[in-house]
C-alpha cells in the first residue's frame, strides 16, 4: 500500500467528529489528593503552602486551599470507564495496535478546583491529520475536553493533540 492511500482514520472517528460524548464525573477532590499532586510535581522541593496549608490559604485571594491548575481529579476511579469506542484513536489497516503519545495541549483555566469539588468532563473529536514522520506514518488527533464543577462553573477547557503511530 502506498502512503498516499494509507490511513489510520476510522469510520468511528468520522461519525463522531464534533459531537460531544457522554459526561464523566470524577470522585470528590480531597485535600490529600491536592497535596500529593503538588508534592509529586514539585519533588524534591516543598510545594507552595497554597496547596497544603489551609490556614495560610485562607489569607490569600483564594480563601482556601486550591489545586494546581493542571491537577487531574479523574485519576484513580474505582471503576475505570470502558474504553468507549477504541476506533476513536485510529486503527492500522493490518490490525496491529498503534502506539500513542501525547503531542501537546492548550488549557484555559476558569474556576479553581478546591477540596470537595466534583468535576464533570465531556469531550469531542475536533479534527485530525496524517503525515509521514520520524516514526513512520503518523496520525494526529485533536480533541476538546471541557471540565465543569458542581456549580456548573467552567473549570478548564483543553485542546489536546494525540499522536498515533
Amino acid at each position: 500500500m502506498s502512503n498516499d492511500t494509507l490511513t489510520y482514520v476510522t469510520e468511528e472517528m468520522r461519525a463522531a467528529q464534533g459531537e460531544w460524548g457522554g459526561i464523566r464525573t470524577a470522585p470528590p477532590i480531597t485535600e490529600t489528593d491536592i497535596r500529593r499532586w503538588a508534592m509529586a510535581t514539585y519533588y524534591p522541593r516543598q510545594p507552595p503552602r497554597i496547596y497544603w496549608d489551609a490556614d495560610y490559604a485562607a489569607t490569600t485571594q483564594w480563601g482556601g486551599i486550591v489545586a494546581p491548575p493542571d491537577f487531574n481529579p479523574f485519576a484513580w476511579p474505582v471503576q475505570r470507564p470502558r474504553g468507549g469506542s477504541p476506533g476513536f484513536s485510529g486503527r492500522r489497516p493490518d490490525g496491529k495496535p498503534l502506539t500513542g503519545m501525547n503531542g501537546g495541549q492548550t488549557d484555559t483555566y476558569g474556576a479553581p478546583m478546591r477540596p470537595g469539588d466534583v468535576v464533570a468532563a465531556r469531550s469531542r473529536l475536533v479534527d485530525w491529520w496524517e503525515r509521514e514522520g520520524r516514526l513512520g506514518h503518523t496520525l494526529y488527533v485533536r480533541s476538546e475536553i471541557e471540565w465543569r464543577n458542581q456549580n456548573d462553573e467552567l473549570v478548564r477547557t483543553r485542546m489536546s493533540i494525540s499522536i498515533r503511530y
Binding site: 519533588y43 485519576a75 502506539t99
Partner: protein, 139 residues
C-alpha cells in the same frame, strides 16, 4: 514578591525553574496521575516505542513544571489563566529540565491584567523540548 504589571516589559524573562528528572520524578507523577504507561516505567518498553535510550518522561510532567514555574512567578495573588505547549523532544533519564519564558505582550481584558509569554522547557544541552505560550493574570 509581587510583580508590578505596569513595570513589566516585553522581553522580560521568567525566572528559570529546573528539575533533574528520572524514575524518582516520573514514578511520583505516574502515581498521582495514574499514568502507568510501560514506556515511562521500563527501558525495554521505551526502546520498543522507538526511544533507543529506554524509558522516557511524561509530557504531562513537563506541563506541570511549566505551570509550577508560572505559579511561582505570579504568586498566590496572581492567576495562571492559559498554558499551551507541544511536546517536540523526548525527556530522557537524568535530563535537567529548565522552564524558560519571555514576556511577549500585556493587555487588560475583562478587567484582568494579562501577561502573555512564550515558554519552553530546555534540557541540559540547550535542546528546546516543549515550545508553547502562557497567559497569566497579575493583581
Amino acid at each position: 514578591m509581587t510583580i508590578d504589571f505596569d513595570k513589566l516589559a516585553v522581553g522580560d524573562k521568567l525566572p528559570e525553574w529546573s528539575r533533574r528528572t528520572g524514575f524518582a520524578e516520573w514514578n511520583r507523577y505516574a502515581a498521582v496521575n495514574e499514568e502507568f504507561v510501560p514506556f515511562h516505567m521500563d527501558d525495554e518498553a521505551g526502546r520498543r516505542a522507538g526511544n533507543e535510550q529506554g524509558a522516557f518522561g511524561m509530557g504531562n510532567l513537563r506541563y506541570a513544571y511549566i505551570v509550577n514555574a508560572l505559579r511561582d512567578w505570579v504568586g498566590d495573588e496572581g492567576i495562571v489563566r492559559e498554558v499551551g505547549c507541544q511536546y517536540r523532544a523526548i525527556n530522557q533519564k537524568n535530563d535537567v529540565l529548565t522552564v524558560i519564558g519571555e514576556v511577549t505582550g500585556k493587555s487588560i481584558v475583562d478587567g484582568e491584567n494579562r501577561v502573555r509569554l512564550d515558554i519552553n522547557v530546555v534540557n541540559q544541552d540547550g535542546g528546546a523540548t516543549c515550545p508553547g505560550h502562557a497567559v497569566v493574570v497579575l493583581p
